[in-house]
Amino acid sequence: LLLRKLEAYGFKSFAEKTEMEFKSGITAIVGPNGSGKSNISDAVRWVLGEQNIRNLRGNKMEDVIFSGSAKRRPLGVAEVSLVFDNTDGLLPLEFSEVTITRRVFRSGDGEYYINKAPCRLKDIHDLLLEAGLSRESMTVISQNKIDEVLNSKPEERRLLFEEAA
């Protein structure tokens, strides 16, 4: 399974439709403070099904929708898609290319799609679980995760252990 592309529109600081391509190996993301790099990791977490808004640095789910800037008005919906090359069939679907999409509206309503076909969040969770891409896994690791492990007591560390293993 290879991640091919991330598309974001209306997600946090991505007020414009944005497309980022990936190859195998290592892709570096660089830029100044506050430019949107961690927002990209948040976008990945979110489209993989993150339900705890605190893990996305917000208070309520609508915090992930572009809230405007000095020159722009807020948007009404956030959308992120991940496009996978599924030639090795790791995702149990008949497609060699699989796109998972998540949307959220200001009302709080959410929409989910697999290859443009509407589905439930549960379907995305189940699909990703097969590929080892569930939210609990080590798919997104940040400086916070490192501090969390360092500052945890032995009992809390055990919980991290059980989650990860």
């Binding site: 080892g132 080590m138 798919t139």
Partner: protein, 155 residues
């Protein structure tokens, strides 16, 4: 249940020990069950001895040593439960130049079986990348991607 935990613990502990030595260039580290008689409830302690130093409580280690130790641990989890791709957000922040070098070489190795997306400010980590994307805010508050650079790998 307890058997499963024991097996997982043993494997992850092995990975952790090896990765630590690889990232620190020596020393040793291991996970310890706080109460080996209570497999289902016991906490997990981390015992660390950086190269040439005495075994120390994790708290007394330096910022960079602590970060590198946990990187070894998280990658040990990753080795046990692989994921096809992994996003790393500035986990190299506390490392000095030498450790960034060692970490980036380690990552290039690991990247043969796992796809990595690495957010970083560090030159050493950037040099390990195959592709680089820039994110900027030409217009305040609005993120924009700038041209993809293909990294010239020296060898």
């Amino acid at each position: 249940m307890a058997k499963q935990f024991k097996a997982a613990f043993a494997q992850i502990n092995d990975h952790f020990g090896e990765l630590f030595v690889r990232l620190f260039g020596g020393g040793r580290a291991q996970l310890i069950l706080a109460d080996p008689n209570d497999i289902l409830g016991t906490g997990i302690e981390i015992i660390v001895q950086p190269p040439g130093k005495k075994q120390q409580n994790l708290a007394l280690l330096s910022g960079g040593e602590r970060a590198l130790t946990v990187i070894a641990l998280l990658f040990a989890f990753l080795s046990f439960r692989p994921t096809p791709f992994c996003v790393l957000d500035e986990i190299d922040a506390a490392l000095d130049e030498a450790n960034v070098q060692r970490f980036s070489e380690f990552l290039q190795d690991y990247a043969r079986s796992t796809q990595f997306i690495v957010v970083t400010h560090r030159k050493g980590t950037m040099e390990a990348a195959d592709v680089m994307h820039g994110v900027t805010m030409e217009e305040s508050g609005v993120s924009k991607l700038i041209s993809v650079k293909f990294m010239d790998k020296a060898g």
